[in-house]
């Protein structure tokens, strides 16, 4: 490649600025509150979408209209009024700051302790930077490498324009528009998200996580992600960021669909740290997410999640093990503090023969929070030799919080082997005393024990995030020493 000079960079930065300017202009034409067919049509038109896409959205809207908001989850919150939400607005322009000195010191402190580099700190805190040499050039190189391999990785709205055949073929096949209330809503009004296609036999040369993090754009309220791994391919994908997101949108209803074709493998990691509300439980994000993956023969899907943010979380990344010998995995750490509520878990639907699934869920509750694991393991009658291992451990700190497990196990085949284990415990006084004796203060000792408790899951995260996630746990639990 021709050498990437500083001039090119300058030019690129200039265009970026322009982008911002452009968005500012259209901010005034934000849609009025409320949702009806016209709004759905208008969103579709705004995105310049083809007719089939508009129809698809409308269909979803019509279904959504008939649905009722579910209330079976073990969470309490005031239901959002869906007619008081603006369903389309251009990405909000955050105030540009001139230097890190202007950033909220609390936020900076968090960055520092997460070990985020100074440049990245600036980018995350939206400080104007003159040159982010590293990030930008790396990103460009990434784009090139991906392009050479034939990997498509772009915002889904662009993909609808550029690869309509792929999007049309796969969108909504794993999470149908009629799936549930929030999935239907998302299908009707999603504004953007990511689309990723890995061609046959291609092993994605880098963690898409790395790429993603550098290119972290303004994440929308209704995100739609579609990852398609063609036969024999491999991809590792990370969404979210360990840095705290101070997003003001109250309601987030994302849909993620993964399709792993024969012999393909998808590793999907999530670090979620939306604003959890203040210490008294005021404010905070409602996170209602539908995530599901489909495994064809010999395919493997592995979900890893670290959930520390959001006031209310409602999230069940699932695997449909359709092909023979396919594998589904779910590794989760959910931390709740103060007045947070999380109802999270997974569904493993075994359809094919010799399918395997593993569920490791670690729940940590502190303060006045409620943490629930809700999972389903379903072995259908034709799923010979299916195997499942589930383990749900809960750790309680203080006696104002709660830990709950609601596992559903449905077996229709005699050759299935299912094991489910759950334990609830607290940090032992002896353990703390042992650490104290050796000069480790209580706060550090708790961090140590929590890390040990969640090690199995942390190990599954891509390397660069594992370290940060570990620190994130520490920070999330700060001040919860009982």
């Amino acid at each position: 490649m021709s050498k990437y000079t500083e001039d090119d960079l300058e030019l690129e930065l200039k265009t970026k600025e322009y982008e911002y300017g452009f968005y500012t202009d259209i901010e005034s034409d934000k849609f009025a509150n409320g949702l009806n067919e016209d709004v759905v049509r208008a969103i579709s038109k705004k995105k310049n979408e083809p007719g089939w896409m508009t129809e698809w959205r409308l269909e979803a809207y019509r279904v959504w209209e008939q649905m009722e908001e579910p209330d079976w989850a073990n969470v309490n919150y005031e239901k959002p009024n869906f007619q008081e939400i603006a369903y389309y607005s251009a990405p909000k322009k955050k105030p540009k700051l001139n230097s890190l000195d202007e950033v909220d010191p609390e936020l900076l402190d968090t960055f520092k302790r997460l070990g985020i580099s100074l440049d990245e700190q600036k980018k995350l805190a939206n400080v104007a930077v003159d040159i982010v040499m590293d990030s930008v050039s790396v990103a460009t190189t990434f784009k090139k490498t991906l392009g050479e391999k034939g990997i498509i990785f772009m915002p889904i709205s662009e993909a609808i324009q550029e690869h309509p055949e792929l999007v049309r073929k796969y969108l909504g096949t794993v999470v149908p528009t009629t799936d549930n209330f929030y999935a239907a809503l998302n299908s009707a009004v999603f504004s953007d998200g990511s689309f990723c296609y890995i061609p046959k036999g291609v092993r994605c040369p880098m963690e898409l996580s790395t790429y993603f993090r550098i290119n972290e754009g303004g994440t929308g309220q209704f995100e739609r992600t579609l990852v398609v791994a063609d036969k024999g391919s491999y991809v590792s994908y990370l969404e979210g960021c360990t840095a705290p997101s101070r997003d003001e949108n109250q309601l987030h209803a994302a849909v993620v669909e993964l399709i792993a074709m024969d012999d393909a493998e998808i590793k999907y990691s999530t670090v979620q740290n939306w604003y959890p509300g203040d210490k008294n439980g005021k404010g905070g994000v409602f996170n209602f997410v539908t995530k599901r993956g489909l495994c064809e023969t010999n395919a493997k899907i592995s979900w890893t999640q670290v959930e520390t943010g959001s006031a209310v979380t409602w999230k069940y990344p699932s695997c449909v093990l359709k092909g023979n010998n396919s594998i589904g995995e779910f590794y989760s750490i959910a931390v709740t503090n103060n007045f947070q509520q999380a109802d999270t878990g997974t569904k493993m639907i075994h359809l094919g023969k010799n399918t395997k699934s593993t569920i490791i869920s670690k729940g940590i509750s502190a303060g006045n929070s409620q943490n629930s694991y809700r999972g389903l393991v379903q072995i259908n009658s034709r799923a010979e030799n299916a195997r499942n291992f589930s383990q749900c451990d809960s750790l309680l700190m203080g006696n104002a919080c709660g830990a709950h497990t609601f596992p559903y196990i449905e077996v229709k085949n005699k050759s299935a082997q299912i094991e489910h284990e759950a334990t609830t415990s607290k940090i032992g006084e002896e353990q703390l005393f042992y650490c104290n004796q050796r000069g480790i203060d209580t706060e550090k000792a708790i961090a140590l024990i929590v890390n040990g408790f969640s090690k199995e899951v942390l190990n599954k995260l891509p390397m660069e995030f594992a370290v940060e996630a570990q620190k994130l746990l520490e920070i999330s639990l700060e001040g919860s020493v009982g």
Binding site: L396, H404, Y408, N413, H420, T423
Partner: protein, 437 residues
């Protein structure tokens, strides 16, 4: 729903037929209103997600079979634990059979609910305990509305009842379909000890629906052992609602053996009000054909330093369905609780289904709570080992199943009950193992 209409319209006649002035009248009326509002349970309710009673409610039940039917002792003797001396409270089609019963008022009261509800000498106990812990859910309310007959057992302080008490409900099938709603009240005072054996048995293949409510009160330092033997005919369905309240230092165990019947639903609820007590819930389920057994348990730990142990084993053949829904709630005051829940299942056939939902809801931090749930098969290697040594396959399988269920069997304290259960299991598996387990 037709059955619901029929039940509602028969209420006035029912109330007229008995003492309308009773204090219980208000409780009944309220329960009826509650039932009218709630109706029969449907699969839409989370508590009934895996069990549908629709096929059962379709029958045109005779709600108050009034034919006097007598049965010969010789015909029904086999349903009693007859090799030991026991007290017996026996009902035929919901009516007390003095001929088959053996009640007492000597130091303890083992008698009839209908007497307890009307005679003033029982009223202090009835006022304090009747319908105090039964839930206001649909089928319990239905039972309460028609609560009239059943067993009344009152064990005063410091009495150790010397022989077990059997409560047996026979249905004769004199009508094409019969519905019975026995209501039992068991009050065990401080330091008392009692063993109770319950059984429901229909004598023909006619459809039967039993909707039973049992309230058990175990005071300080008391010990109560309850054995439920469910080995009914194939058209008999059972909803067994048990509510148990325990006080400090008491130990209550309930063993449920489910082998027969069409649809069996056990709602077993423990409320621990006090400290240092132990609740034991165990069960063996071995079913086949299209049978359905649902164990729905609740242990509510309200105060500190208590324990609960649950152990349910299930073996499922043919097209049978098993449901286990176990719930443990630990209140935030209930520190130092130890709650264990174990549910192991074996599927013998490809058409059999298991739905398990072991739940924990924990609000206290200094607790040890665990649940384990497994679904698997008999070990082929072990079977092969036995076959090599001359044990036929069928017997080998039976041995493995006995071994599997043994953790439940071994805690049965009445030897005759244990051997009876062993026999029923052996019978069911079609083997003669020739030794006691």
């Amino acid at each position: 729903m037709e059955l619901k209409e029929k039940i509602l319209s028969s209420y006035v006649a029912f109330e007229n037929g008995i003492d309308i002035n009773s204090d219980i009248h208000e409780i009944r009326t309220e329960a009826l209103e509650n039932f009218e509002k709630l109706g029969f349970p449907t699969k839409k309710l989370e508590a009934w997600k895996y069990t549908s009673l629709n096929s059962v409610f379709k029958n045109d039940y005779s709600i108050f079979p009034d034919k006097e039917v007598t049965v010969d002792l010789a015909d029904v003797k086999k349903y009693f634990i007859h090799d030991i001396d026991t007290y017996k409270v026996v009902f035929i089609d919901g009516k007390y059979s003095s001929f088959l019963s053996e009640t007492t008022h000597d130091a303890i009261d083992v008698c009839l609910m209908s007497a307890a509800l009307t005679k003033s000498k029982y009223s202090p106990v009835v006022e304090n305990y009747f319908n105090k812990i039964a839930k206001q859910d649909n089928l319990t309310s239905l039972n309460t509305a028609f609560a009239n007959e059943g067993a009344y057992i009152h064990i005063p302080r410091n009495v150790e009842v010397e022989k077990p008490i059997q409560i047996i409900n026979f249905t004769t099938g004199s009508e094409a379909a019969t519905m019975v709603q026995p209501r039992n009240l068991i009050v065990v005072e401080e330091n008392a000890h009692v063993q109770i054996i319950e059984r429901n048995q229909s004598l023909t293949d006619n459809a039967v629906l039993s909707n039973i409510v049992t309230e058990v009160f175990a005071a300080k330092n008391s010990t109560v052992d309850i054995y439920k033997i469910q080995n009914d005919n194939i058209n008999a369905s059972l909803v067994d609602n048990s509510y148990i309240e325990q006080k400090t230092n008491s130990v209550v165990s309930v063993h449920t053996f489910s082998f027969g019947g069409n649809i069996t639903r056990n709602n077993l609820n423990f409320y621990q009000r006090g400290e240092h007590m132990d609740s034991i819930l165990k069960g063996i389920t071995i079913i086949e054909g299209k049978q359905h057994v649902d164990h729905h348990t609740l242990v509510h730990h309200i105060e500190p330093n208590c324990e609960s142990h649950q152990d349910y084993k299930g073996i499922f053949n043919d097209r049978s369905t098993g449901v286990f829904n176990g719930k443990v709630i630990v209140n935030k005051e209930a520190q130092k609780t130890n709650a264990y829940q174990q549910n192991n299942n074996v599927l013998i056939s490809d058409k059999a289904t298991i739905n398990a939902k072991p739940q924990l809801e924990i609000f206290a931090d200094d607790v040890k709570c665990s649940h384990g749930c497994t679904i698997g098969q008999l070990d082929d290697d072990a079977l092969f080992y036995m076959q090599q040594r001359g044990i036929p396959k069928k017997e080998g399988k039976a041995l493995l199943m006995f071994a599997f269920a043994n953790t439940v069997l071994e805690s049965v304290k009445i030897p005759e009950v244990k051997s009876r259960i062993t026999k029923i299991i052996a019978n069911k598996l079609g083997v003669d193992i020739g030794f006691d387990l």
